[in-house]
């Protein structure tokens, strides 16, 4: 069974008023359990509204969605929404702005405690989450507000991971982080994916979508423009242009080579490593490599 299913979902802000605007229109999609989906699209394309429905923060105006065995429609009650949230973790944009507790450990323990686990169990889950984010243990009793920006971000993410979500939503998790911190964070997300967590990541960085995701969902004006593998998507320049998406730098570079009359292979180089492999093969075959 698929992990997540949207069925003819509409969402209208200020529904039943003259101001009503449809943010998501007749949206249907199935996501497999353990998949990694990158969600791309411009501001106002409906991607955050879609994710808010997955986390039970909004309920569909029409249609329904299912996460695991929990189904949500416009009549969903509080109990059902609470059940939904138990399995879904949502790392908001700039999550560090939501830290609140007096110590790092208390902040990370809040989520598990809220879900009803024992104090001891909550502490255990919090410590494991903090360790997985490679945070030094001596910060556990410090105020989260004394930490550096990158550390605050990791504490906030630990707070979500400590709840052991089966579905993890991340909204631009690397925005504002330096390159090393970004890479570390994405590697962690990838590890969670390897262990079976279903990942949905909103991103503006096509390099991230190309490197980590198995599918890319392209949103435009509340509807899906495309849902396909990075290979398919980034091999379709017309579709990208129409959706206003710049391809990853490696794809762009290969396209430039084609413009200059040099086609490497039919395989789109999704990462710089793949591009370098293709180039090295050609250069060595050409016998002109002098290294």
């Amino acid at each position: 069974m698929s992990a997540i299913e949207f069925l003819n979902v509409n969402y209208a802000y200020q529904a039943d008023t003259p101001m009503a605007t449809l943010a998501v229109k007749d949206f249907s999609l199935k996501l497999e359990s353990g998949s990694f989906t990158a969600i791309v699209g411009h501001t106002g394309s409906g991607k955050s509204t879609l994710m808010a429905m997955l986390d039970g923060l909004l309920v569909p105006t029409h249609g329904s969605l299912r996460v695991g065995e929990v189904t949500i429609d416009s009549h969903a009650d509080k109990k059902t929404l609470a059940k939904l949230r138990k399995g879904v973790g949502y790392v908001f944009q700039f999550p560090e702005s939501q830290l609140f507790a007096e110590t790092v450990l208390k902040d990370v323990m809040f989520g598990p405690l809220n879900m009803g686990v024992s104090l001891e169990q909550a502490k255990e889950q919090a410590l494991t989450a903090l360790r997985s984010l490679k945070l030094p243990e001596d910060i556990n009793d410090r105020s989260p507000f004394e930490l550096s920006g990158g550390q605050m971000r990791r504490v906030a993410i630990a707070g979500v991971l400590a709840m052991h979500p089966r579905v993890l939503i991340l909204d631009e998790p690397t925005a504002g982080l330096d390159p090393q911190a970004s890479e570390d964070l994405l590697n962690l997300v990838n590890q969670l994916h390897q262990k079976g967590t279903t990942i949905l990541m909103i991103t503006h960085q096509m390099e991230q979508a190309a490197r980590y995701a198995d599918h890319v969902l392209v949103m435009k004006q509340g509807q899906r423009t495309a849902f396909m593998t990075p290979h398919e998507l980034f091999g379709k320049p017309d579709l990208l242009k129409e959706a206003g998406i710049l391809p990853p730098a490696s794809v762009d570079f290969a396209n430039q080579l084609v413009v200059h009359g040099l086609k490497l292979t039919d395989e789109v180089p999704l990462t710089i490593e793949q591009l370098a492999d293709q180039l090295a093969d050609h250069l060595k075959q050409g016998g002109r490599a002098n290294g």
């Binding site: 925005a175 911190a181 960085q205 430039q256 370098a276 090295a280 250069l283 002109r288």
Partner: protein
Amino acid sequence: MIDIQHLSFKYPDHAQPALDDVSMQLPMKKWTAVIGHNGSGKSTLARLIDGLLIPSSGTITIDDLPVDEAHLQQLRQQIGLVFQNPDNQFVGTTVADDVAFGLENHQVPHDQMQQRIDEALKAVGMQDFADSEPSLLSGGQKQRVALAGILAIGPRVIILDEATSMLDPKGRHELLTLLKQLIIQHDMTVISITHDPVELSMSDYAVVLDHGKVAMQGATAELLKEPAKLAQMHLALPFAQRLQLQLKERGISVPTQYLDSERMVEWLCQQLNS
């Protein structure tokens, strides 16, 4: 020239100095990128040049103007600072009001204000948003309004403290292209504190800071000839330099001069098409 001599700075509660005896000369009317890890001292440097922090020792002069407490008034006129988070620098209820706020602070006569606001918003391409509410703008638009607020004052030097790091690729590209234009059209001096390899590749001059010391400085094209050295310091490199390193790892020898993406394409086509 921005002349920095033997500059040191230590935060009161830190054991190590944030900047330790650094000297550099940054060209006017050019774009200088200051790069380095978190904790390398680059943001501290920006705040020292702006006069927001007072050095523990050493001197900074901007052309002939010394950066010290006696000249803070003049410095405020000459230097503008754009911060990282576009949401933290708005006070006005409309875009035009926000630009006006800075002018009022600098006691610009009221009859000159409208013209200066119009010109500044036009320079950043935001004239159509003069009556918009700042909170409704995208991150990139917000940073352009922040820049307009600074341009209206008419400084010679603009310092960007990771001002593009929270923007999406499109917003970032627009802001960087705009800066390049401003340097050419208005003789501005830009100093950008950055992690962004694209920002680095657009600069004329670059300084690499590492643990409070200058690790490298020079023309950006010269620095980028040594991608391996920069990579060793875990700095993000422009795409063309990363590709050069990747090819080297695969036993391909690449030209030792600096190549941007376009020249890299040309070089590869020469190797493979002839």
